[in-house]
Symmetry: C2
Subunit: 246 residues, 2 copies
Amino acid sequence: MEWAIQDVARASGTTSRALRHYGAVGLLAPSRVGSNGYRYYDQAALVRLQRILLLRELGLGLASIGRVIDGQQDAAAALRTHLRLLEAEWERLARQIESVRTTLRKTERGEQLMAAEAFDGFDHTQYKDEVIERWGQDAYDRSARWWESQSGAEKAAHQQRHEDIATDWGAANRSGAPVDGEVAQGIAARHVDWLSESVPPSKGYVANIGDMYVADPRFGNNYDQHEPGTAAYVRDALKVYAERSL
Amino acid sequence: MEWAIQDVARASGTTSRALRHYGAVGLLAPSRVGSNGYRYYDQAALVRLQRILLLRELGLGLASIGRVIDGQQDAAAALRTHLRLLEAEWERLARQIESVRTTLRKTERGEQLMAAEAFDGFDHTQYKDEVIERWGQDAYDRSARWWESQSGAEKAAHQQRHEDIATDWGAANRSGAPVDGEVAQGIAARHVDWLSESVPPSKGYVANIGDMYVADPRFGNNYDQHEPGTAAYVRDALKVYAERSL
DNA sequence: CCTTGACCTTGACGCCGCGTCAACATCTAC
DNA sequence: GTAGATGTTGACGCGGCGTCAAGGTCAAGG
C-alpha cells in the first residue's frame, strides 16, 4: 500500500513542500519514486514521518530529529538538551516581556527615556558578571538598585557629569599635568564624588578601579577617546588620591 | 567629536558588522564618510544608536525600530503590539516545554510512544472544525476527551482495529458481496462497535457518516486505498445497517 | 622607505524550515 | 480533447547579522 504525496500531506497534517524538503535533507525518502518522478510513501515511511512530526512539534531541529530517528543519538538525551534550551529561551522571553512592560509604562507616562542617555561604559547591567566578580554581589545589588531607582533625567545627568570629568581627564593628560599635582587630584576628587552617587567608594575600590579602566578597553575607551593614554593617567591619579585622601 | 566604527561598536556593546548593517538597511547612517570610505559617527548618531539598541533589546525588529525612531509610528503602539507577540510566544513555549517534559518522562519509562501509531485519518484534533460543524460541540468535546484519555498503546489498538475493519471492507467490496448481505452487515456491526469506542453512535450518525467517507477524500482514502470504490460501498452498507439494526 | 599589525571597505554566502512563485510535465475525469 | 488538479525541479525570501574573502588605509617603529 502506498500513497501519493498529497494524500500523505493531508493525512499527516503537513504539506507536500515539507515532505519534499525532508526528502531533500535526507530525513525521509519516499519508498518509491515513479518513472515520472512522482513520490510515493508506504506504511513504513508514514511511521517514520509520524516520528519526525512528533519530534518537530516538540521543537527539535531537523538535524537532531534525523540523529534520533536513525538511532545515532539517544532520544532522551536529545530531549533533555533540547529542554534546557527551551527553558533558557522561555526565561529570556519572560525577562524581555518585563522590560517591554516597564518601557511601555514609562513611555505612556510621557517619559523620554529614549532620549540622550549617552553610553557611559558603566552600564550597570551590561557588565554585571564582571562587576560581581570584582566587588561582590552586594556591591552590584546596591549599585543596580540605585541605578534602577533613578529616572531617565537623573541617569542622563549622572552620565553628563561623568562625560565632563572624562573630558577634563583628557585635557589634564594632554597638558602634561602630573598625576599627583593639584589639577589631577582635583579631578580625582570629583571623580570619586561622582562614583559615590552610585556606590559608596572605599579606599580599595578607588585604588583599583583604575586598573580596570586600563585593562578593559570597554571601560578605558571612555577616557582614551579624549586623549590616548588617559586611562592609565586616570588610574595613576586615582591611586594617589586613594592613598592620600581616603 | 566623532568616533571610528570600532570605537562606537565597543562603546555601545555591539559590533562593527551590525553598524554597517544598520547603515545598509537605512537605520543608522554614519554622520560622515571619509574619502577612503571609513565611517565616522558623531554624538547625534550615538544617541540614535542608543535608541536603536534599546528597542532591539526589547526584541523589536529593525523595521519597526526604524518606524518608531523616525516618528512614523507611535512607540507605545509598537510596544503594545510587540508585547502581545512576545506573550503569545511565551505561552507557546510554555506548552512546548510541558510537552517535552511529558515525552521525556515517557521515553525514560521505556514507553515506545514514537512507535506505530499510524495516521488514521480520524485525528481528533486535525479535523476539529468539520467535526463540530457536523455533529455539534458536545459530540466533539466528548470524543476529544475520550481520545485524550487513551494511552499511546490504547490509541494504537483502536487504530489497529479500524485498520482491520478497513481491510475487510476492501475485501468484501472486491468479492462483490452485496451491501445488505451477511458479510457486509457483519463488518458493519464491527464498524459500529468500533465507532462506539469513542462516541456512542446514534442511528442518524451511522446512517450519515458514510456520506462523509465518500465526500471527503481525507476520510475516504482510508477505505479506497484497499479497493477503489470501497468508501461508497461502506456508505451503503452502513445505511442498511442503521435502518435494520439501530 | 618599508614593514607589521590593526582596522577599514565592499561583496557574498550561511543559518533554519520551509512558503511561495515560476515554468513545465503528468494524471484524472468528463 | 481539454480542463483542472496534482506532480516535478529550481530558486528566492525571510531576520539579523556572523563569518570568511580579498584587498585598501593608517599609525607606529626600525
